[in-house]
């Protein structure tokens, strides 16, 4: 490395998706994947003695800190192994085992949880809290980044909190790397990586791609090194919105000026916050006129400007379904 930054130590927070349901359907078993992740963690720790590592485990039900945990690591020290490696390895493996066991032996419950995606946005929030606290305590700040090893699908419920986390990360210049091991591409996490300047990589295990190799090549380099490497290029990230009325992806949409709900056609009343619109569309080149079929909420004639001041957030929350 030519000219180091003011501090060349890093702070890496790894968010491990330990959702048993998702991993059960995978060609790569969770324990095999875990072994590869642990090798990656050791490599990271070996790069710089000042490097800090935090590992978070997330399931559909809970999310907890695995690596720097207040529970003491087992005493049986192995003098053959570097103590830092051993502490991280033992804690991560034991922590994931505890998370998986905690999911419960109940078959029905496990089935239900298999469908539910992991709490990735909660894990990201905790990771950012941790980073902000650590950097507040340090005199020379460490470069912080987050690596999400994701196996589950997107959850529309998480959209707003995930977006909040992404923008908080962007503000704190925290990179978010995403390594998608299983399942379809995650649109939310693609946006997370793109907005924060991290990498989004998908490991196609079926096609023989190795998780460890991908992690080593794309997620190991620090902030400085990334500037001189060619990162994997993300082809096309869709930042278009989905309209609230028909769940169609729209190029040009109509946005309620009060609650920012997106519609694909004009309507006299916003279906989210019941605001009555004036009969004109704002925006250059917009066509005047009202909706040809005022289908929604026309049974709310009393909802004038008075009710718009107390727009119902719960209704808005329930119908927010972007991406």
């Amino acid at each position: 490395m030519a000219e180091p930054l003011e501090s060349d130590s890093s702070l890496l927070v790894v968010v491990l998706d330990a959702n048993v349901g998702a991993w059960a359907r995978s060609p790569l078993a969770l324990d095999k994947a875990l072994q590869q992740v642990v090798i990656f963690l050791n490599a990271y720790l070996a790069l710089n003695t000042e490097n800090r590592l935090v590992v978070l485990g997330a399931t559909a039900r809970e999310c907890r800190f695995l690596h720097p945990s207040s529970s003491r690591a087992p005493e049986a020290a192995d003098i053959q192994v570097y103590e830092q490696f051993r502490a991280a390895d033992v804690r991560v493996l034991a922590g994931v085992a505890a998370l998986v066991d905690g999911a419960g032996p109940d078959q029905a419950q496990a089935q239900a949880q298999a469908q539910a995606p992991s709490l990735i946005s909660r894990a990201l929030s905790m990771a950012l809290c941790h980073i902000s606290r650590v950097n507040a305590l340090l005199t020379n700040k460490a470069w912080a980044r987050v690596l999400v090893v994701s196996a589950g699908a997107d959850s529309a419920r998480e959209y707003i909190s995930l977006m909040n986390s992404i923008f908080a990360a962007q503000k704190a210049s925290v990179l978010i790397d995403v390594c998608k091991v299983l399942g379809a591409d995650s649109v939310f996490l693609q946006q997370a990586a793109d907005i924060t300047g991290g990498n989004y990589v998908r490991v196609d295990v079926d096609a023989g791609e190795s998780l460890l190799q991908t992690l080593m090549f794309t997620c190991l380099p620090d902030h400085y090194t990334r500037g001189i490497l060619n990162a994997p290029y993300n082809q096309l990230i869709d930042f278009r919105a989905t309209c609230f009325c028909h769940k169609r992806v729209v190029d040009i949409g109509y946005v309620c000026s009060v609650c920012l709900s997106i519609f694909c056609r004009t309507a006299p009343v916003c279906s989210t916050c019941h605001t009555k619109f004036s009969f004109r569309i704002v925006g250059p080149g917009a066509r005047d006129g009202s909706s040809p079929n005022g289908t929604q909420n026309t049974n709310n004639p009393q909802n004038g400007s008075q009710s718009s001041t107390t727009g119902t957030p719960s209704a808005a929350m329930s119908s927010l379904n972007l991406g």
């Binding site: 606290r133 340090l138 040009i252 009060v258 972007l322």
Partner: protein, 414 residues
């Protein structure tokens, strides 16, 4: 400021300002209010049992943080789409050095921070900057959603050339003219940073005030010297605020208080459907093409869905067809103002069994324990715990502030 040796009782000997108001200007310890920060700061610090003052200093810094903690969480309709004109006084009164190094310098630095924060929290709003000097007003930047335009104008050296007196009326009229083309569903605001106690106006400012009220423009001011009646009147009648900061920190606080979108009054005008475009980010082409915004050759960009012009960054207005271009995350970023996070409740340490803060996962007493660090200073606060009323998880003060100021969602509820 009192010399350090003086007793509070001797104030009359060296201060002869008339302070016969209802409460006088006396602070809690008999000194003047503005002296308090300096005057007794050494009395607060008490040594603890081991003779160290560290716990005392930590207590003070925690106190200061806690002041910022409680915020308004009421769910109200807010003006998410704002059109703001910032008026900067460039009269000779801005050369006064009561703010270091001078009023204009301090004001421009803080305004630059304001612009950054403004677009961070109001991604689909627009800003314009107007300057006034020599009895005239001029537009520095037109209404635009690109922070770099405004930051560039504020950094311009020419801004530090001060001349004559400001003209509040001219500045307000010019600002209003700029706001006239702003759509009615958005909020129209003028924020003035003024250092002069006088204004050099061509006509009756009362008429300007009427026009402002008619156009539903909200005028807020930050005055660097003192409160002036006419300024106060304009602010209160248009629904804005007048702040008179005492120092640079106060100036920053006053400006930052205007960053979150203000609540709307019930009687306010209309709501509209706004036509917006959601461009697709185009991938690197084989050959670079010029962008519509800077006329520079670039590989990547966002393509306007209506006219296919390429712009460099979002959010912006398309330079060719004028369509507002946003991405879905920008809209999502504004949702947090509509659904603010609940304030956490302070609870005594004994009331929780949790061994570590739920957010950062660090122990209360000793954050270094899970993560030893040679250069980490001692923990700032071991004392208080803060509990989210919804999910009942317990957080430390640092996480509480981070969650409410930056993150805007509770990790336990997410």
């Amino acid at each position: 400021m009192a010399p350090p040796g003086n007793e509070p009782g001797n104030d009359e000997d060296y201060i002869d300002i008339d302070d016969t108001g209802p409460d006088g200007l006396k602070g809690a310890d008999g000194g003047y209010t503005w002296e308090e920060e300096y005057k007794r700061s050494w009395d607060v610090i008490q040594e603890d049992a081991s003779g160290s003052i560290q716990s005392s200093v930590a207590g003070i810094s925690e106190q200061r943080k806690r002041k910022r903690r409680v915020r308004d969480t009421e769910v109200v309709q807010r003006g998410i789409i704002r059109h703001v004109v910032v008026v900067v006084d460039q009269s000779e009164s801005m050369a006064v050095r009561d703010l270091a190094p001078s009023r204009i310098h301090a004001a421009l630095v803080e305004l630059e921070a304001f612009v950054g924060e403004f677009f961070d929290q109001n991604p689909i709003s627009q800003l314009s900057i107007v300057a006034t000097k020599d009895g005239l007003a001029e537009v520095l930047t037109e209404l635009s959603g690109n922070p770099m335009d405004h930051v560039g104008a504020l950094r311009d050296k020419a801004n530090k050339d001060l001349a004559g007196e400001p003209s509040l009326q001219n500045a307000l009229e010019l600002a209003m003219h700029g706001l006239r083309r702003a759509p009615s569903h958005g909020l129209r605001e003028i924020i003035c940073v003024v250092g002069s106690l006088t204004t050099c106006d061509p006509g009756d400012i009362g008429q300007t005030l009427q026009a402002l009220r008619h156009a539903e423009v909200r005028v807020s001011m930050v005055h660097l010297a003192a409160e002036v009646h006419v300024f106060r009147q304009i602010c209160s009648e248009t629904g804005g605020q007048l702040a008179v900061p005492l120092d640079a920190d106060g100036l920053r606080d006053a400006l930052m208080a205007m960053v979150p979108p203000p609540a709307l009054s019930a009687s306010r005008g209309t709501s509209d459907m706004v036509l917006m475009g959601f461009p697709v980010k185009s991938v690197a082409a084989a050959v670079p093409t010029p962008c519509a915004c800077h006329h520079e050759l670039t590989f990547a960009g966002h393509v306007c869905p209506r006219c296919r012009a390429k712009v460099c960054s979002l959010p912006t207005d398309c330079d060719v067809c004028g369509l507002p271009l946003v991405s879905a995350p920008h809209l999502a970023r504004s949702y947090r103002h509509l659904f603010p996070e609940e304030n956490f409740v302070e609870i005594p340490p004994a009331a929780t069994a949790a061994r570590a803060c739920y957010g950062c996962g660090m122990d209360w007493a000793d954050p270094q324990k899970p993560q030893p660090a040679r250069d980490a200073p001692k923990p700032a606060a071991g004392g208080s715990r803060y509990q989210c009323p919804a999910c009942r998880h317990v957080f430390c003060l640092d996480c509480d502030i981070f969650i409410h100021e930056t993150l805007h969602n509770c990790p336990g509820c997410a």
